[in-house]
Amino acid sequence: MNGNVIGCARLEMHVLDKTVERLEAEAVNSTKTRQPLYAPRKKIFPKRASGSFRRFKWLVMAITLGIYYLTPWLRWDRGPFAPDQAVLLDLANRRFYFFFIEIWPQEFYYVAGLLMMAGIGLFLITSTVGRAWCGYTCPQTVWVDLFLVVERAIEGDRNARMKLDAGPWTTHKLVLRVSKHTIWLVIAAATGGAWIFYFADAPTLLREVFTGTAAPVAYITIAVLTATTYTFGGLMREQICTYMCPWPRIQAAMLDENSLTVTYNDWRGEPRSRHAKRVQAAGQLVGDCVDCNACVAVCPMGIDIRYGQQLECITCALCIDACDGVMDKLGKKRGLISYATLSDYNANTAVATGGGSGAVKPSLLLTADGTFSDRLAHFHIRKIFRPRTFAYMGAWSAVGLALLYSLLARERLEVNVLHDRNPQFVTLSDGSIRNGYTVKLLNMVPEPRTIVVTMQGLQGAEMSVVGIDLPAARSFAIPVEPDRLKMLKVFVRQPANQVEDTAQTFKFRVEDMASFESDEYTATFNAPETAR
């Protein structure tokens, strides 16, 4: 390999120098002008990108927004005694419905488990493909993307927007700005509006909202979420990620040398030059980067990926699309900016610098016929499977399986018993001893059930229930409303001559005769010393 070969391979460079326009873009955090975080905001005008990542992001946006807006409108038949909304957080009645699952407040650990899975899942994703959450699915990213679509449609792409922003306030500018903010507000209101439908029957609430008869909290929620969506998505944008979000800080600890991140392959791009041919003619080395700034112009965070992985980068990969487009135009191989791991990057840098000493020499990367050397490392799917990701996957699956098991094995009939504390026991006129209990029957299915309550143990004792005309007995049946708790005041009475101890244990057993579902509670029966 020598300099001539490279010269031949890049013969067309002088033509391309003219066709690729250099965009006026500068990274907000370039070293030249790098300010500390506490600095006035610099406006960012992201240019429209196109390419496979952009298409993927459109798809993700459609799916995530679709889920958000449409979920409350899905129906799920639960019979006549429960709402038919597939996903419903019924705060007033303290029930959470998710398709075939119904959760009572005391089962909130399912939500805690899901949050654990979300956390571990985020670790898993980040350790394999970097900040994919930030770049593709985070609501902030999705809504900013949506707001940018509106901005571009009204004010035009990057250059037009910059011109408009810098220009004087004309009627035209006013019309554009007012219509942009109006549409943003409409989207924001629709976003806030969609949120409330998760908390009440969606069709009913929609009618109420528009007739002005909905609860004040519905309007307040819409107002607050409209304000936050408009402010975060339209006005603050990248500042939310840079200043307010903790995740960019955490991710530094999550990434390792085998995580895929958006990488500028400077071993291939440097030394960058805007005038490759002239530089080459002067006998100097030239890399693939033509310093067109396309990667900076499309960046929604306004940064320059060529400075390497940085706090502000959400890895949305739009710079990859932008750079690939330029590389295509230049007839060069794609991937100057690409998803790469640090270890691959280091290996390739070692190749390009001839073992790690000295500057990058592009000639070291190419074979005699001008293609890339096969000594260059490429990402292999195997790298995803490493001890760390197995540990995350294991923890994630363990929590998931534990939740699934407890969901499948959970009881939908429960009994809770509170023993009266004052008085602990009452001596009756015939000398027998009585204890009072508050018995709570939880019928956790949306059907009425008849529950049989039986006493087990405590010989000779009998139960009676306040407000219900039952003969004193050791067992009674009682109807319980669907999806409700039934509270009973139960008195247990034991003849004095049967009392064995000052504290005896016995069981309240409840059983649904239709499903044979049952539950038990071990209670204590207290008696005075003298009753024995």
Binding site: P36, L37, Y38, A39, P40, R41, M236, Q239, Y243, D420, R421, N422, P423, V426, T427, L428, S429, D430, G431, R434, G436, V466, G467, K489, F491, A496
Partner: protein, 287 residues
Amino acid sequence: MSSEHIDEVSGISTTGHEWDGIRELNNPLPRWWVTTFYITIVWAIGYTIAYPAWPMLTSATRGVLGYSSRNHVKNELAAAEAAKAKYVAAVKSKTVSEIAADDALREFAVAAGGAAFKVNCVQCHGSGAQGSKGFPNLNDDDWLWGGSAEQIQQTITHGIRFASDPDTRLSEMPAFGDIITADQIAQVSAYVASLSGLVRDASLIEPGVKVFAENCVACHGDIAKGNRELGAPDLTDAIWLYGPGEAAIAAQVRAPKHGVMPAWIGRLGETKVKELAVYIHSLGGGE
């Protein structure tokens, strides 16, 4: 405090403070932060105008919204009263038996009665209505003056041996220490103790039966089962207001103690008394 100092690495001036060689950079705050800060100041000023805030000599500025926490509580209490008005009206118009038979109404009355009990009755009857020596336990099934909801209501309304209420429940056991001899008292006490199976001296029982027949049956009945018309207790059961055993019985025969319960109608009104009656009736001994 030194004069202006520029940090060598960042090229930013410092605040002039130095701690062991560490200096504080004098960075500008982000504009959104500063704006938010000014908004909070404006908000705070507006707040002190809208709400009571500035202390004056005798009170504080009222605030243009006219808010006061006292009114707030008053409104909440009024709302709570309004919310239960339906139940209160029902309690007022129905008899205690009717209230006890209606699930929702009973639940309301038990809760309201329980609250009133905690304020007015626990001083004597105890916080669990369990009573103590001389103060009846209201949980059990032994009632001196009757355990139906109506009878309990009557007792609470007019009290027991409460002189200023003409309809009060009235009875008084004579002090038999002045009427019969000490031996007779020992005999009748042994007999009465034997009725509920308490330990006794068998030689005293036989004469005790005679003493009982001559002096006690008028109120306590032939078989000592008591008489609720007169508030005379059942002497055959396991419950002793002034304690079990011959000594306690003898003391009560010699010089009886008589508890007094005030009439509550004047202080609590009919509705509260009904709620209390339903509450006590629900404690487990109601008839």
